[in-house]
């Protein structure tokens, strides 16, 4: 009974996080003596699919219907449900991102499968099937046991380092009998920031708070982000004041991120903000207030004015890159 993993591509190219999901599935499969079948949707080239073997997929089930080129939670769920039935899968994995989070709960409800949303560990099968996830918006972790026969996991991106191996996956085409209602959600327009790194996928994040004083000062953070190859984020007051768009807001009522490096500039570190970012591996806090609570949650701290410190840091990063 292979382990199924839903992979997602952008215009035919798989992203790093999909490789991470395949590799995660392969790790579980290996410990159980099973194989991995990736499930792909829509128009994607054969060589892209066979290359999923590099990350541990033995097989690919490819639902080729071109209507799947636009995302529909209902249709994608149907593909995964049909695939699970076809190969009698007991473990199904998607990413914990905007796509996986819309699809996986549908699949779980349909198959009466227990689900762990946003897994940050491999399942522990010594006593049941226990997976760790973050709860209370990052203030704690919970170990969840799935007791049903079929199990669904959404994997938090950026949890495991991706390592490319060798291998080539077999492709089987899959026909799914859709009805019109599966595609009732029609895409009218897509607006993607070109060139910018999506916050949810970024390894490095530069974030600003009220201490930045106003949107006109954001250029210093953007210059640092560009130099580092980082995404930009902000605190809630900044998004509420419309200094920055809502999708950059991280914290308890915004997004939760887990980058390798989180640089917080002019953010005091309210508990609600920390909740969204304390999964970051390394936290740097730049603040001119020595009493800012964020320093207590930081790995590295710099006491100083953002408009002076940040350009200096940008210059230091530039110098470092030239010398390495």
């Amino acid at each position: 009974m292979p382990i199924l993993v839903l992979v997602e591509h952008s215009q035919g190219t798989f992203k790093k996080k999909s490789f991470e999901a395949v590799q995660y599935a392969a790790h579980i499969a290996q410990s159980m003596g099973e194989t991995v079948t990736a499930v792909a949707t829509g128009t994607v080239a054969e060589n892209e699919l066979t290359a999923l073997g590099n990350y541990g997929a033995q097989n690919v089930l490819h639902a080729t219907d071109a209507r799947l080129d636009n995302f529909s939670a209902k249709a994608y769920a149907k593909v995964l449900i049909e695939a699970a039935k076809q190969v009698n899968a007991k473990i199904l994995i998607t990413l914990h991102d905007t796509m996986g989070r819309a699809v996986a709960p549908r699949v779980a409800a349909n198959l009466q499968a227990g689900m762990v949303a946003g897994a940050i560990s491999y399942p522990d099968t010594n006593n049941g099937f226990v997976v760790k996830r973050s709860v209370f918006s990052g203030k704690a972790f919970a170990n969840i046991n799935i007791s049903s026969a079929i199990k669904v996991i959404t994997l938090m991106p950026n949890t495991f380092a991706v390592q490319k191996g060798e291998g080539s996956a077999n492709i089987d085409k899959m026909d799914v009998a859709f009805d019109a209602s599966d595609f009732a959600v029609q895409v009218q327009s897509v607006n993607k920031a070109t060139g910018a790194i999506p916050l949810s996928e970024a390894d490095l994040v530069v974030s600003g708070g009220r201490g930045m004083k106003g949107p006109e000062n954001w250029y210093v953070l953007e210059e640092l982000a560009t130099e580092l190859g980082a995404a930009t984020a902000c605190s809630r007051p900044v998004a509420d004041s419309h200094w920055r768009p809502h999708n950059e807001h991280v914290g308890q009522t915004g997004g939760t991120i887990r980058p390798n490096l989180y640089i917080a500039v002019g953010i005091s570190g309210a508990i609600q903000h920390l909740a969204g970012v304390n999964g970051s591996k390394t936290i740097v806090v730049i603040n001119k207030d020595p009493e800012a609570p964020f320093f207590k949650a930081a790995d590295y701290g710099v006491l100083g004015d953002a408009m002076e410190v940040v350009p200096r840091l940008t210059a230091a990063v530039k110098k470092f890159k030239q010398n390495s």
Partner: protein, 247 residues
């Protein structure tokens, strides 16, 4: 058009998170309960706006819980809504709560079901999609804008690195986040009116949970901040490279 808004009660955002019973249960002692912000600020307020503009004919609020959740559902009614429904069950896991709400929703027949993108306690964010599946409805997740014209909803939603605008006919389930509406504060008239609004208690359906929480853990404490001189950013870069190994 009838709208159902799913409401969850959660600990206030400033609550201290602690556990009892050998770290297997959340310690609710001294916790102030609030309406889950995503349910209140976005899903509920947008439903009320649709009623005020004459598009919706009825707005019902539903929650799953024992009698102790009634103060929070009354608070929600103080913002607006015609009636509330409490399904008399312990919310054991996301699946059982979805089955409870889906059963009730099916008996009434709603055109639009709104919920928050996730609760701020367990952060599953699975309610909308599970309801949609159990009710064979379409689902749009993480909406940032919800407009209704005739029998069609036009919804902007967050996607990786941007935004997409979708349209879909009813019935439909939408999970809402920031952007959908602006938070409101209940006024005295609303609070008075909420006292006499109907709060129906519906018996629980028989359903078994599929997951259980084995234990909780608190994140390990940071070992202490290392301060770097503001004049010496070369040192910070060196530390991030050699010690933290992140650049």
């Amino acid at each position: 058009m009838k709208i159902l808004v799913c409401i969850s009660q959660v600990p206030d955002t400033t609550s201290k998170i602690a556990f009892t019973d050998n770290n297997s249960k959340f310690n609710a002692q001294g916790v102030t309960w609030i309406i889950n912000p995503h349910d209140e600020w976005y899903a509920l307020v947008r439903a009320l706006e649709l009623k005020e503009s004459g598009i919706a004919t009825a707005v019902h609020l539903v929650t799953v819980g024992k009698a102790d959740v009634e103060p929070v559902i009354r608070k929600a009614l103080a913002l607006g809504g015609d009636e509330a429904i409490r399904i008399d069950a312990d919310p054991e896991d996301p699946y059982t709560s979805a089955v409870q709400i889906a059963g009730y929703a099916e008996s009434i027949g709603y055109d639009l079901i709104l919920c928050g993108k996730e609760s701020i306690d367990y952060n599953n964010g699975t309610m909308g999609a599970m309801l949609a599946e159990l009710l064979s409805m379409n689902y749009i997740a993480f909406a940032t804008k919800v407009d209704v014209a005739g029998s069609t909803a036009t919804v902007s939603r967050e996607i990786d690195g941007g935004e997409e605008t979708d349209s879909c006919s009813f019935p439909l389930v939408i999970s809402c986040q920031k952007g959908v509406a602006e938070p409101r504060i209940p006024n005295m008239r609303g609070i008075m009116a909420a006292r006499t609004k109907p709060l129906k208690v519906v018996p629980a359906a028989a359903v078994n949970s599929l997951t259980n929480i084995v234990s909780f853990e608190l994140p390990p404490a940071k070992s202490g901040v290392k301060m770097v001189d503001a004049e010496n950013m070369d040192e910070l870069v060196a530390l991030l490279h050699r010690e933290a190994k992140v650049i």
